[in-house]
Structure formats: structure tokens, C-alpha cells
């Protein structure tokens, strides 16, 4: 009901403005500025002591990228919808929504990680240079970081209850066994801090770097792993630990970060945006 109201109010707002944006489904976030030339809507204003503040909002949302990534590739569209939304929409019992980093990621790697693991990890993720709205950097000082990768001695299981054989099998195969991550999220599904914990006891470097790469990738959008069959992908259960980013993974990131959404986006809104992009 709330959602409907918000759609209606957005529609009315834009109708009043007499202009169309690429994204009528997302309520714009306003700032209030004193200058009429930087304002976007002079009819929406607030009077303060000796001044008037006018509404200003971003108008650079571009759905054409969605079209370019998804058109004629229904397979990829479905993969994306699975990885991000688990094929849910606004009517599902549990609703999954787009989650993004709203700040450049500055990674601190625990000194207790083997040196080769650290350097391979850094080298691998330094390949991501041309993904719009996603910046990944590294620091040697924890205080300057917003993403910490740390070694733990605590056993980490993907499923808490492993009394059943099926769960045991899942645990062995799961990307989340032996490592996990937690992210601080604001009320708009944007991440601003993260901790990735990995248990390296009794594991070789290759096993550790492979899992680190996978977990970190998942944490870039709280992506759901294990559904991709291509072993080149970091989201595959049988990831081959390739030294290069796969085209598929890079495309996922470019898709996911083509825009930083100003409001929460569920599966329904996402499809609406995609359909809008196709009409253009």
C-alpha cells in the first residue's frame, strides 16, 4: 500500500514538473539549495529566516545501460535476477532487494594472511578499474579502511544446523564454509563497512585465495552464490580460481553498479526499469 502511494505521489510530482526522467519509478531524493540556478524545481521551496531554499535532485539516472547489458540476453537477465533477487518480487513472502556499496571500498588485509594470498588478492581485484560507481582500493592501516579482511580461528559453517547429511554435503561444498562476511547497511540498502573473516587453519594458500576472492565478490552486492554453472565465475560452487576476472562476473558488476539507486529496488521495480529502458 505504501509502495502504491509512493508511486502515485511520484507520478503526480513529475506530472507537475512537466518533465520526464528515465526513472519515474524511483522517488528522487532532494536537497534544498539557496540558488535558483542550481535548483531543479522552483515550485518546491522552503522559506527560512532570510532566505528561500529550492528543491534540487539528481536527473542523471540513465536506464539505457540496462538495455545495453540485458537486451537480447535473457539468460543473463535471469542470472542477474537470481543472483540479486532470488527471483522474488514485491509480492513475495521474503523480498530481496538490490544492495550496493555507496562509498569507495578501502580494503585492509590482515597481516596474518600469507603474503602470497594478500598479493594475489590485491592483484586480482585491481583488475576492476572501469566499473562505474565501484571503486576498490587497499590500505595498510586499519584506521583508514572501511573493509577489513581478517583471519579467525573460529570454525565457520555455512549452515548452523548440520545434523543432517544433506546439510553436511552443503557445508563441504558451500562457498561460505570456512569464511564469512558481514556488512554494515544503511536504511536504503547501501553498504558502508564490511568485515570478511576467514579460517585458514589446515588450508593451503590456493584454497584460501580462492575462497577470499569468492567471498569478497559476493560482498560487493550481497550476491547469492552457487547458482552459476560456469566455473570461471566467482559465483560458481566449482570456481576454477582463474587469475582473470570472467566476462560474466565483470558484466554482473557493471550491471549492478551502472547506477547507485536512490531508493530500495526490489525485483518488480527492477523489471519495470528494464522495460522502461526497452521502450526508449
Amino acid at each position: 500500500m505504501k509502495y502504491n502511494l509512493f508511486i502515485i505521489s511520484t507520478f503526480i510530482t513529475f506530472a507537475m514538473f512537466g518533465q520526464k526522467t528515465d526513472c519515474d519509478s524511483i522517488k528522487p531524493r532532494l536537497s534544498f539549495v539557496p540558488d535558483t540556478w542550481t535548483a531543479t524545481d522552483l515550485s518546491h521551496y522552503i522559506i527560512i529566516d532570510k532566505d528561500t531554499l529550492y528543491a534540487s535532485y539528481k536527473t542523471d539516472f540513465d536506464t539505457s545501460l540496462l538495455k545495453s547489458y540485458l537486451e537480447d540476453d535473457e539468460g543473463f537477465l535471469n542470472h542477474y535476477r537470481m543472483i540479486v533477487f532470488l527471483f522474488t518480487d514485491k509480492n513475495s513472502k521474503v523480498i530481496y532487494e538490490v544492495k550496493q556499496w555507496a562509498a569507495p571500498i578501502i580494503v585492509y588485509l590482515d597481516k596474518n594472511l600469507p603474503k602470497t594470498v594478500r598479493s594475489q588478492f590485491e592483484e586480482f581485484y585491481s583488475q576492476i578499474q572501469d566499473v562505474k560507481n565501484l571503486k576498490i582500493g587497499f590500505t595498510s592501516k586499519l584506521k583508514d579502511a572501511n573493509y577489513q579482511i581478517k583471519v579467525t580461528t573460529t570454525p565457520i559453517k555455512a549452515n548452523k544446523n548440520d545434523s543432517e547429511i544433506s546439510n553436511k554435503i552443503n557445508n563441504i561444498n558451500s562457498i561460505l564454509t570456512g569464511g564469512t562476511y558481514s556488512l554494515l547497511t544503511d536504511d536504503n540498502n547501501k553498504f558502508y563497512s564490511g568485515i570478511l573473516s576467514i579460517n585458514i587453519n589446515g588450508r593451503n594458500d590456493i584454497d584460501v585465495i580462492k575462497q577470499l576472492k569468492q567471498l569478497f565478490f559476493m560482498s560487493l552486492g550481497s550476491f547469492y552464490g552457487g547458482f552459476v554453472s560456469d566455473n570461471n565465475s566467482l559465483l560458481s560452487k566449482h570456481y576454477d580460481n582463474s587469475s582473470n576476472f570472467s566476462d560474466f562476473d565483470l558484466k554482473i558488476l557493471k550491471m549492478h553498479y551502472h547506477n547507485i539507486y536512490e531508493q530500495k529496488i526490489n525485483g518488480t521495480t527492477f523489471l519495470k526499469l528494464y522495460n522502461l529502458s526497452k521502450q526508449k
Partner: protein, 296 residues
Amino acid sequence: MKQAIFLIVLFLFTTVVLAQNNTITTVRRYMPIKMYKTKFDKPLTKNDTLNFRFTENDTLVLLEDQTPPKGISVPYEPKDSTFLNYYKKIAFNHKNDVYSNKSSMKYWKNDINIFFSQSVSKKTKKDFMSFVKQIDKAVDSLRIKEVKNVEDSNYTIYYSGDYEYEPRMFNYKTSDYYIYWNNNKIYRGAIRLDKNALFGDALLQYKMREFFIKSLGYFKFIDDFDCESYFSNCYSPKKELSQMDLELLKYHYSYGICKGTDLKTFEEQHARAKETFQKTGQHIFFLHVTDNEDNE
């Protein structure tokens, strides 16, 4: 509602008598009948009824004691509907997000005296206090300062693992804040920060500032504002107190509105104030009584 009685809305009904170019103004003090019955525990007399004044929706009783109560009388501060729309969303934080006319605004009546636990570094304190001073400077009726002794404080900021200054947050798994209020007047607050999760300086400042702003009025952050605003519900590494943010705080702590009311009363008072102004050209006054009410 009780404090509404003390924050008496004064209706100044003025009789003007013209005599030889001199203007004599007579001020008579009335009180809405409902408020009168709550405040004075005595039946209305025949004389009272003879002196009734009637407004469109209310009956006013002439006060026996015409001595103005001690306090500060401030004219209603008019605001445009756009501003008020945002203000209400922020200041009236509805329980479980369920809209209710009974939701009330909360505010600090006394100065805020902040005590930092020993493990909070000088740099963290300095950065945080420079932010706090912007508020202290901009908002007339809100004084905020750091104190060195916990006994002198009514606000503590500490890390998990330090002495637990606020026992109610002892078992919290994440960083949080806690405030106490009585009759919608906030009188104590605390911020507890989990340094394991907030390992970077910038993260720590972000969270401290977010909690502090919330604790100034049990504010609700909204999805209407750009993320740089402190009242928006989204993260930005470039948060700053915008003109709008400061205006919201100034208004919340302004004497030109009746403080601590529920949403229904707030709406009614604004409607009445606007109506009075349109009809008479005069603003109604809010009297903030300087009694010795003890918050605790």
C-alpha cells in the same frame, strides 16, 4: 497533554478604546475550557459562565488571576507546509512505523553535558565536538558541551568493553544509542560503539554523529532527503549539516512552537495559529513557563 497545560497558549483578546488620539489596550487572559478543567480542580461558577468567550470550536474561560505567569512568551513561528511536512516526518517518530496521531515529539529541555569514556581518543573527541559545536552555535535554546566528570554529565559516549555507562545496552550486539524521557522531555542519553565493527576513524565519526542527531529528538531519518543530509536514512561519506538540517533543528528547539506535544495537538495548534493570524493579523503566543519542573 499535561505539558500543554503548562505551555499555555495565550489568546490575547484585545479591546481597543480610542480616546483623544490615545490608544488604550486592555489585555484579558482566557484559557480553553478543557484545559481550564484539567488545570484547576474547581467547578465553574456562574460568574465564570457569564464571562465565557466563544470561538468557533471552543469555549474560553476568563482567568481569575490576570497576573501573567512567569515565563517566556513567544509568538507562533509560522512555517510553510512543505517544511512542516518534512518536520512532522522527522520529529514524530511513530512506533513500529505505524502512523499515529498520538506519537509525540521529544526534546532536551536542559543543557547536554557529554562525558567521553577514557578509551575515546582525543582526536575522536575533538572531531566529534567540532561537529557538535556547529549545532550548539546554530540552535539558540540548545547548549551542548563536554564535561570531564561523569557525575556532571547527562550524556555518555563509550565503547563496548568499557565500563557500561548505560546498563540497558549491556547486551547489545551492535553499536546503538539510548535516551530517556519523561513527559517527552529527554533527560539522559548514551552512545555505545562497537569498535570491532567501526574500526576506521571515518566509520566511528559517522556512527557517533548519526546517533547523536537521532538522540536530539528521537528523530526518524527519512527517504526524502539527499544522502548528504543528516536527516536522510542513507549513508554518505560526505555528510554535512545542511541549511535545511540546521533549520529543522532550530525549529524543533524554537520557542515559537509548543514543545512536547503529540501530532494531533501539533496539527491543531498550527491550524488555530494560522486561522487566528488570517482573521486578526495577530500571532497567538506560546508561553513557556519557567517553573521548577523536575525532569527526573
